[in-house]
């Protein structure tokens, strides 16, 4: 078990629990262009988990896909009017396929958006030309070609003969429905309206159902869709479609080439940013509300500054430095402007623009010592070691910690004690319901950050006492003395558990479902590789898209 090495206290660590994404399905027969079933040495025991066959596009994916489908210079902005999808308790990301449904409100929005896009495209000669085949003087042939080519790109797969005939009939029925529009343009417009409301556009659908051994290989176009929506959050491009048409994605080397090409594209940066925004709860950075009484010089836009630093750091580590989780957790290079530099205590001249700097390695190393994590997990007056510890334990070590009991009594006033002492006195009383979790997991992961106040600045004094960041953490089955937050970050970066946990997050994000027991073999194997070789995030993503789980479906779905 991945988390077996973590010391668990009775009534505290609750294990993985029911994290199975479920979704077992019956069999079918639509895998005509299937690729390999995944026969790489060392990964034979890595099997896909049952999962949905219908991934409705997220609103961001809808927007990106429409932009790419029609070669628009910029997003339409229409998805801003789509109602927000509901969240799922305990799922970190915004793409849980089980909640990506189409209700009446969203259907109406899709309707309006389809009408709007069709009108926009057919009213602009340049845009219209981009989606039309050349006019060779035969409208019927041109219609056929348009429907075939546009349909392939919109459905992310070739149309079958029935679908082709259906859409051609739609095209040909259009002229009476548009007053003052020439018949061909009317056909294009109604076809676009129809296709943008089709389930084959709105969902990424996987119908493959032919088992090869103990897995169901995805069809080539299905695999291309998984790849592009994972790495670009959008539809495949021409080259990826061609690779699917040539069945090149069945070859792992070709798949690696495609993934590497796609990771070099700017669209991949948006995906990596969005992933880390959610893992590190960037939205919560905005909750930073240091009390003016304690922090009179705190920037009014502290949340914005922390967000900017975080995103620049992630992009720099992943794409400029080819770094991985080790660098994310330990690098003391970051980006500051004058306000952030002041909080970090950096001397020098800085302006409003962010520039790269190297921070004091004794004080700073990685995301957990940067502003965002620190200010998001502080009270208005003090650092919040409880929530800092909970975040590290749950999000970085993937520990499930039981929720606190209801009606927790309030933390008493400091009354001349340090912040740490107050928390210890309150949460580590022998025999209390708190002590199990707090003394062994939560507080040890939180106290090393006592050197950082509510605005993320370094401090050595706490209510008149010297800050005591020392603790002992239980990680990978070992008790480990820790002297500072930097040391804790280094210990986390060296932990196989943390690397596997990071992989678990990527698995959830890639598949749009909670991590399942079937994922453990992959996350453990690649987690160990990542830990041993400081694997760059980009390499890790390539490992993920070439995994059995990514290229196949589960045979349980056929039962």
């Amino acid at each position: 078990m991945l988390l077996a090495g973590i010391v668990a206290q009775a009534g505290c660590y609750t294990g993985l629990g029911d994290r199975n994404g479920g979704g077992g399905a019956d069999g079918g027969a639509d895998g005509s262009d299937a690729g390999d079933a995944g026969d790489d040495a060392g990964v034979a025991d890595e099997l896909p988990a049952p999962s949905t066959r219908l991934y409705r596009l997220t609103h961001a994916q809808w927007e990106n896909t429409v932009q790419d489908l029609f070669f628009l210079p910029e997003p339409t902005g229409l998805a801003q009017d789509f109602r927000t999808d509901p969240s799922v308790g305990g799922f970190v990301f915004d793409n849980n396929a089980s909640t990506l449904e189409v209700d009446q409100t969203l259907w109406q929005s899709y309707q309006r958006a389809a009408v709007g896009v069709a009108e926009q495209v057919t009213s602009d000669p340049a845009l219209l030309m981009a989606v039309l085949p050349p006019d060779a003087g035969d409208p019927a042939a041109r219609t056929q070609q348009f429907v075939q080519e546009f349909g392939l790109r919109a459905y992310r797969r070739p149309l079958d003969a029935t679908e082709l005939a259906e859409l051609v009939a739609v095209f040909e029925s259009a002229p009476p429905l548009y007053e003052g529009v020439d018949p061909f343009t009317a056909g294009v417009r109604l076809t676009i309206e129809t296709v943008l409301q089709s389930p084959h556009f709105l969902y990424r659908i996987e119908t493959s159902a032919e088992a090869a051994g103990d897995m169901i290989p995805l069809g080539q176009y299905e695999l291309a869709g998984r790849l592009s929506y994972f790495l670009w959050n959008s539809m495949p491009d021409e080259e990826l479609f061609e690779a699917a048409a040539d069945a090149a994605l069945a070859d792992v080397d070709s798949l690696v080439d495609q993934a590497s090409r796609m990771l070099a594209d700017p669209r991949a940066r948006g995906v990596v940013e969005h992933f880390h925004d959610q893992v590190f709860e960037v939205e919560r950075f905005q909750n930073a509300a240091p009390s003016p009484a304690f922090y009179p010089d705190a920037p009014a836009n502290l949340g914005d500054l922390a967000t900017e630093e975080h995103r620049r750091f992630i992009e720099d580590v992943v794409f400029e430095r080819d770094g991985g989780i080790v660098e994310l957790l330990t690098s003391n290079e970051t980006f500051v402007n004058d306000e952030v530099a002041r909080l970090y205590g950096i001397e020098g001249t800085f302006g409003a623009e962010f520039t790269k700097v190297t921070l004091d390695p004794e004080q700073r190393g990685g995301l957990l010592t940067q502003l965002g994590f620190l200010v998001a997990n502080s009270t208005t007056a003090n650092p919040d070691p409880i929530h800092r510890g909970v975040f590290v334990a749950k999000r970085l070590a993937c520990l499930n910690i039981a929720a606190p009991p209801d009606g927790v009594p309030p933390l008493p006033p400091g009354d001349g004690r340090s912040n740490r002492q107050t928390v210890e006195d309150h949460t580590e009383q022998p025999g209390s319901s708190c002590v199990g979790c707090h003394s062994t997991i939560i507080n040890p992961f939180g106290f090393p950050f006592e050197n950082y106040d509510s605005v993320g600045a370094w401090r050595v004094e706490d209510n008149g006492f010297p800050v005591d960041p020392k603790t002992t953490v239980n990680l990978d089955g070992d008790s480990m003395p820790i002297g500072s937050a930097v040391e804790l970050a280094q210990a986390l970066a060296a932990s196989p558990t943390v690397h596997s946990c990071y992989l678990e997050h990527w698995v959830e994000y890639a598949f749009g479902r909670p991590v399942a027991p079937e994922d453990e073999a992959f996350t453990t194997r690649v987690g160990e590789l990542s830990q041993a070789g400081s694997m760059p995030v980009k390499e890790l993503l390539v490992a993920l898209v070439t995994s059995n789980a990514f290229r196949n479906r589960a045979t349980e779905e056929l039962q």
Binding site: P86, T207, P410, L411
Partner: protein
């Protein structure tokens, strides 16, 4: 306006008429009683964090600032100094119910237990996971819509405020573990309801019919695939049933002036400024009133902010300044978890929040009351509007004595003008069965429902509340 539409109109805001074509099959040529003209409905308006009421906390005794001073008839005297004072103009239409107790399901978090149980009367799908919880059943607003709305139309679920604890919108459930998406921008709620205007209607309807025919065919083929899981089929079913024909908006629309009003009130729907949030909620209330007036839905749930309303800063009614966020106030401490510094006069500041919710509920009642019916009654009388709360009080966030302030008799179904306290028992599910029955839900034998919520709970309607 055509001949049919002229026959049945309601007076809307600003004296504007709202046509009622849906009554064509029901209404006689002469005016009838309200209950026969407008089928009953339920509008839920939810506040988080409990109310500021008499209680002893570890911070000391707090005075009564919410509940009336005496049971029985609601009068200006019995609500003097209470938050309910803000509803003074509607006292004769209120039924204030004390002693509503929720089941202490193991949500491991007072907010999750309150918010997720509030309209579902269900425990969690997984016990003990606190903020990661989901409710294990359908909510009453959804059931009312599912069973009573014309053509299977979804009930309205409206939200304003910031996401946060429990992921933002968390009141309305389609089924166990299946939250519904909320409409956040009031203008979107209105657009979804109104359909399209007459100028567009003729040209669009034939095209959309063509699109719908094609899409429905594609959906049916997909739904027939044997390898789909039950969950996939369920999602496709919802999608399929959501494909609707275009509806002519003449029956249900605001005037240009009303649209300008809605535009002006709506932008704060994603804000942590309490004034902006409540203004957007009031915009939602305009939409809700129009929606029930037009027969678009018989159920609306309006949620203000996240599971613990943890970022909204409401206004101090004394100083005029924005206060600390509401969740902090409800704990009387500058912390989401009872760790922070004491907030001076926290109970009074919580009371100010209660008053602003009361004012906002009053705004809803005013909007409903503006729709006059031919028999001299108004829309408010036809249905039931409920100001409810996840918790009994702050800072304890108790599951007991959870406030239910009900307005409108649902055409004579419920008592009015009274404050009463129920016997001490777990009776929250009974309350929801009462409200569901008031809104028109019935068992197959025609009797009031007693089957909503967790089967282990008492579920019979509360006779004390019936007229």
């Amino acid at each position: 306006m055509n001949k049919m539409l002229r026959r049945h109109v309601l007076k809307g805001i600003g004296g504007t008429t709202v046509a009622l074509p849906f009554l064509e099959g029901l209404a006689p040529r002469s005016a009838k009683a309200a209950g026969e003209l407008i089928p009953p409905f339920a509008i839920f308006f939810r506040q988080a964090n409990g109310v500021a009421c008499a209680q002893d906390t570890d911070l000391g005794a707090e005075p009564e600032r919410f509940w009336p001073s005496a049971e029985g008839a609601l009068t200006a005297e019995t609500v003097a100094g209470r938050a309910l004072e803000e509803l003074a103009s509607h006292l004769d239409r209120l039924l204030v119910v004390g002693g509503v107790n929720m089941q202490d399901f193991n949500y491991a978090d007072g907010h999750a237990r309150g918010a997720l149980q509030l309209l579902t009367a269900r425990g969690p799908t997984v016990e003990g996971v606190g903020g990661d919880s989901e409710a294990a059943g359908e909510s009453i607003d959804h059931r009312i819509g599912r069973e009573l709305n014309a053509d299977g139309r979804d009930s309205l679920f409206l939200f304003a405020g910031m996401d946060g604890w429990l992921g933002g919108p968390c009141l309305s459930y389609r089924d166990a573990g299946q939250r519904r998406a909320a409409i956040r921008d009031p203008r979107q709620g209105y657009m979804g309801m109104m359909g399209i205007d007459e100028a567009q209607f003729g040209s669009l309807v034939a095209r959309q019919q063509s699109v719908n025919d094609t899409v429905r065919g594609q959906m049916q083929k997909l739904m027939g695939r044997p390898q789909l899981s039950a969950a996939d089929k369920q999602r496709l079913d919802l999608h399929f049933s959501s494909i609707r024909e275009l509806e002519n908006s003449l029956s249900c629309n605001f005037t240009n002036e009303q649209m300008m009003l809605l535009d002006g009130m709506s932008p704060g729907y994603e804000s942590d400024d309490g004034d902006a949030v409540l203004e957007a909620i009031r915009a939602h209330m305009h939409v809700a009133a129009l929606a029930v007036a037009c027969g678009y839905t018989r159920s609306v749930a309006i949620q203000v902010s996240s599971g613990n309303d943890g970022s909204t800063r409401y206004r101090n009614l004394d100083s005029g300044e924005l206060m600390e966020n509401y969740h902090f106030l409800s704990h009387r401490r500058a912390s989401h978890d009872n760790e922070g510094a004491l907030i001076e006069n926290g109970d009074l500041l919580h009371h100010y929040v209660d008053r602003q919710f009361a004012q906002t509920f009053s705004y809803l009642l005013d909007r409903l009351a503006e729709y006059d019916l031919p028999d001299g009654s108004n829309l408010l009388d036809c249905g039931v509007s409920v100001w409810c709360n996840d918790n009994g009080s702050g800072p304890a966030h108790s599951s007991r004595n959870v406030p239910f302030v009900i307005a409108g008799s649902a055409a004579g179904f419920l008592r009015q003008g009274t404050y009463l306290t129920l016997p001490d028992e777990i009776n929250h599910a009974r309350m929801l069965n009462t409200i569901g029955s008031a809104a028109g839900l019935r068992l197959t034998d025609g009797s009031n429902i007693d089957d909503f919520g967790d089967p282990s709970l008492p579920r019979s309607p509360l006779a004390e509340l019936l007229a």
